[in-house]
C-alpha cells in the first residue's frame, strides 16, 4: 500500500481542520486565558479559511483514496463547504450568548471544531470503520457541548439522556455493521452490494433494521426522537443550535453513503423501513408541535417533522430523491440557524426567550428580529416564495415521480397541519400586544449576519435554480 501526495491532498479539509483545532487548543491555552473572545475570533477565522479551502477543491470525479477509506467527490466537497460555513455562522451567533451565560471557554470552540471534523469524516466515509469513527467523533463532541454549562441541572439531564440514547444508537449501528461484515467479509461500503447478492435473506433484513434505526436516531426521527425536545430545551441554546444544524448534514451524508451508495441494489428493503419512519415522523412531529408552549420544544418537534421530509427524499430512492433530500437538508439548516439566532439575540441576562409568550408583539419591540423570524417561519411552513417551499416541492415531486402517491399526500396534509404552528408565531409577533419586557440587545454584527441569513432564505426561494442545479449535479443520477 503506497500513498502519493496527490491522493493525500484530496483529504485537505480534514488535514487542515485537524491541524487548526490543535492550534486553536494551544492558542487558547497560551494566549487567551484571560480573554476567551480571542479564541472565538481565531476559530471563526479558521472556519472561514476552511470553507474557502473546501469550496475551491477541484474534484473532477469520484475518487476513493487512503486504502479505500476516504471518498472525495463533488458531494463531499459541497457538504464540507456547507459544514464549515454553517458552523462559522452558528459560532458567530453564539458568541455573545456564551459570554453572557459565563460558558465562553476555549474548549467550547475546540469541541465545536471536533464535531465539525466528525461531519467532514462522515461526508467522505467510504468504509464502515471510517463511518463509525465519524459518528462517534461528532456525537461525543455534541454530548460534551450539551453538558457544557456545568451549573445547569437541566443541561446535565439533557446531556445524560442524549448520551445514553446515543450510546445505544452507536451500539445498534455497530451491531448492524457486524452482521453485514459477517455476511460479506468486507467493511468497504463500495463492495457491499456486489457481495450481498440478489437475495441476501433474513440476516440482511436484521442488519438493515439495526442500521436504519441508528440513522433514524442520529436524524431524530420518530420513534427515536425522544432526545430531541429535551436537548433543544435543556442544553444551553447555543449548544442546541450546534446539535440542530450542522449534524443534519452529517446525518444526510451518513444515510447517503451507507444506504444510497453502499446498499443501492437493496433499496427496496431499507426504503420500506424509512417510509414508515418518515411517515410517523411527519405526522407526530407536526401534531405534537401544535401543543407546545415553548418555542424551543416547538422547533424540536418541527425538526422531527422536517427530518421526516428528508427521509421521504430517501424513500423516493432515485437520484432525484436524494438530491431533493440534500436540497431540503441545506435549506433546513439555513432556516434553523436563523431561528436559533433570533432566540439567542432575544435572550438577556437571566432571561432566555425560549417561550412562545416571549415573542408576543416582537414587531413593536424589534422589527428586524420579527421580520427575520417571520421569514423563517413562512419558509419552514413551506409558503412561497421562500426556500422552504421549493424544498418541500422537490420532495413531493420526487415522491410522485417514484410512484409514492400516498406518501406524497401524507406529506402535503402534514405540511398544512404544520403551517398552523409556524403561522401562530407570526401571529404572536405581529398581532399581539407585547408583554412588559425590557428592550432587546443591540449586537449589530449578529443582526447584520442574521439579516443576510434571513435574506438568503428569501433569495434562495426567489431564485432557487442555482442551488437546485448544484444539488442535482453533485449527486449521480440527480
Amino acid at each position: 500500500m503506497t500513498f502519493t501526495t496527490n491522493e493525500i491532498w484530496l483529504a485537505l479539509p480534514e488535514i487542515y481542520l485537524t491541524t487548526a483545532l490543535c492550534v486553536v487548543l494551544l492558542f487558547d491555552l497560551f494566549f487567551a486565558t484571560k480573554n476567551p473572545g480571542r479564541t472565538a475570533t481565531l476559530t471563526l477565522l479558521v472556519l472561514v479559511v476552511g470553507a474557502v479551502l473546501a469550496s475551491r477543491q477541484v474534484i473532477a470525479d469520484r475518487q476513493v483514496i487512503l486504502g479505500g477509506m476516504y471518498v472525495a467527490d463533488r458531494l463531499s466537497s459541497l457538504l464540507k463547504t456547507g459544514a464549515f460555513l454553517f458552523t462559522a455562522m452558528a459560532l458567530f451567533y453564539s458568541r455573545d450568548y456564551l459570554a453572557r451565560r459565563g460558558i465562553q471557554k476555549g474548549e467550547y470552540y475546540v469541541l465545536s471544531l471536533t464535531a465539525l471534523l466528525g461531519v467532514l469524516v462522515l461526508a467522505s466515509a467510504a468504509n464502515m470503520v471510517t463511518l463509525y469513527v465519524g459518528v462517534e467523533l461528532l456525537s461525543l463532541s455534541l454530548y460534551a457541548l450539551v453538558a457544557f454549562d456545568r451549573d445547569s441541572g437541566v443541561a446535565a439531564e439533557a446531556a445524560m439522556k442524549y448520551f445514553v440514547l446515543g450510546a445505544i444508537a452507536s451500539g445498534t449501528l455497530l451491531y448492524g455493521m457486524s452482521i453485514l461484515y459477517g455476511m460479506t467479509g468486507t467493511l468497504d461500503l463500495g463492495a457491499l452490494t456486489a457481495r450481498l447478492g440478489d437475495s441476501p435473506g433474513l440476516g440482511f433484513t436484521l442488519a438493515i433494521a439495526f442500521i436504519v434505526s441508528a440513522i433514524a436516531f442520529k436524524f431524530g426521527a420518530v420513534p427515536f426522537h425522544m432526545w430531541v425536545p429535551d436537548v433543544y430545551q435543556g442544553a444551553p441554546t447555543a449548544s442546541a443550535m450546534m446539535v440542530a444544524t450542522v449534524p443534519k448534514l452529517a446525518s444526510f451524508a451518513m444515510a447517503f453513503r451507507f444506504l444510497a451508495e453502499g446498499l443501492m441494489a437493496q433499496t427496496p428493503q431499507w426504503s420500506q423501513m424509512l417510509a414508515i419512519l418518515a411517515t410517523v415522523s411527519v405526522i407526530a412531529g407536526n401534531l405534537i408541535a401544535i401543543a407546545q408552549t415553548s418555542l424551543l420544544r416547538m422547533l424540536a418537534y418541527s425538526a422531527i417533522a422536517n427530518v421526516g421530509f428528508i427521509l421521504f427524499g430517501f424513500v423516493a430512492g432515485s437520484g432525484a430523491g436524494f438530491s431533493s433530500a440534500l436540497y431540503y437538508t441545506i435549506a433546513y439548516v439555513l432556516m434553523t440557524l436563523a431561528a436559533f439566532a433570533i432566540v439567542l439575540i432575544s435572550s438577556r441576562d437571566g432571561c432566555e426567550a425560549t417561550e412562545l409568550d416571549h415573542f408576543k408583539g416582537l414587531h413593536q419591540r424589534d422589527p428586524l428580529l420579527a421580520g427575520a423570524m417571520a421569514a423563517v417561519m413562512f419558509s419552514t411552513a413551506g409558503v412561497p416564495p421562500f426556500v422552504g417551499f421549493w424544498a418541500k416541492l422537490q420532495i413531493i415531486q420526487a415522491l410522485l415521480a417514484s410512484g409514492h402517491l400516498t406518501l406524497a399526500l401524507i406529506a402535503v396534509v402534514a405540511s398544512v397541519v404544520g403551517a398552523f404552528y409556524y403561522l401562530r408565531v407570526v401571529w404572536l409577533m405581529y398581532f399581539e400586544a407585547p408583554a412588559e419586557q425590557p428592550p432587546l440587545g443591540k449586537a449589530p454584527g449578529m443582526r447584520l449576519v442574521l439579516a443576510i441569513n434571513a435574506l438568503a432564505v428569501l433569495a434562495l426561494g426567489i431564485m432557487p435554480e442555482q442551488l437546485l442545479a448544484l444539488c442535482r449535479q453533485v449527486i449521480p443520477g440527480g
Partner: protein, 202 residues
C-alpha cells in the same frame, strides 16, 4: 501432542479459576482468580498463535483493569452478605440466561453464514510461521487503516478535552490561594495608615 497436553492443562486451570471467581466468598480472592483466568486465557491464545492478543490481554486486563479493580474492591466496604443474599432467589434466572447463552454459542458454531452464500475465508490470506501478529496488525493499522487510526487519536483527544472541561471547574466563592498574587502584593494594597486624632482619656 505436547500442544494438546498444554491446552488441556491450561483449559482446566482456566475453568477452575473461573469457577473460583464466582464461587469465592471473598471479593479479593474473586479478583485474583479472575487474574489467573486471564493469564491462562492468554496462554491458550498463545497456543493458538494469537500472540498479540495474548500480550494485550495480559497488559491491558491484568496490568491495568484488574489492578484498578482490586483497588476498588479493597477500598470500598462491600457488604458481601447483602450481595450474596439474592443468589438463591435469582438462581433459576441465572440458569435460564446460561442456557440461552449456551444455545447462542452452539448457534454461532453450527451456523454457516447468515443466509448469504459468502465464503468468510475469501478475503483472508494464510500467514507463514515467520509472520507475527504484531507485525501484521501494525502494517494494517499504518497502511490501510491509517485514516481511521488517526481519527481514533482525535477521538481520544475529544474524550480528554470533554472530561476535563466537564469535571474541572472553579466554583464561585471558592477561597483558593493565589500564591502569585500573594507574593506580588505591595504594602499599599494591604495596609492603610489613617490619621486619627488621639483620643483623650476620660
Amino acid at each position: 501432542m505436547l500442544v494438546n497436553i498444554l491446552f488441556y492443562a491450561f483449559a482446566l486451570v482456566l475453568l477452575a479459576s473461573a469457577i473460583g471467581v464466582i464461587g469465592s466468598k471473598n471479593p479479593v480472592h474473586s479478583a485474583l482468580c479472575l487474574v489467573l483466568t486471564f493469564f491462562t486465557a492468554a496462554a491458550i491464545w498463545l497456543l493458538a498463535q494469537a500472540e498479540f492478543l495474548a500480550i494485550v490481554l495480559v497488559l491491558v486486563y491484568v496490568g491495568a483493569v484488574m489492578v484498578l479493580f482490586l483497588f476498588v474492591v479493597m477500598m470500598l466496604d462491600i457488604d458481601i452478605e447483602k450481595i450474596r443474599s439474592g443468589f438463591t432467589r435469582h438462581f433459576w434466572l441465572g440458569i435460564a440466561v446460561a442456557i440461552v447463552l449456551f444455545l447462542e454459542i452452539v448457534g454461532v458454531v453450527v451456523a454457516r453464514g447468515l443466509g448469504a452464500n459468502v465464503d468468510m475465508k475469501s478475503g483472508m490470506a494464510p500467514v507463514g510461521a515467520a509472520d507475527s501478529n504484531a507485525t501484521e496488525l501494525g502494517t494494517a493499522l499504518y497502511t490501510k487503516y491509517v485514516y481511521p487510526f488517526e481519527l481514533a487519536a482525535v477521538l481520544l483527544l475529544v474524550a480528554i478535552i470533554a472530561a476535563i472541561v466537564l469535571t474541572m471547574r472553579q466554583r464561585k466563592g471558592l477561597k483558593v490561594q493565589d500564591i502569585g498574587a500573594q507574593v506580588a502584593t505591595r504594602r499599599e494594597d494591604r495596609l492603610r495608615i489613617l490619621q486619627m486624632p488621639a483620643e483623650k482619656k476620660e
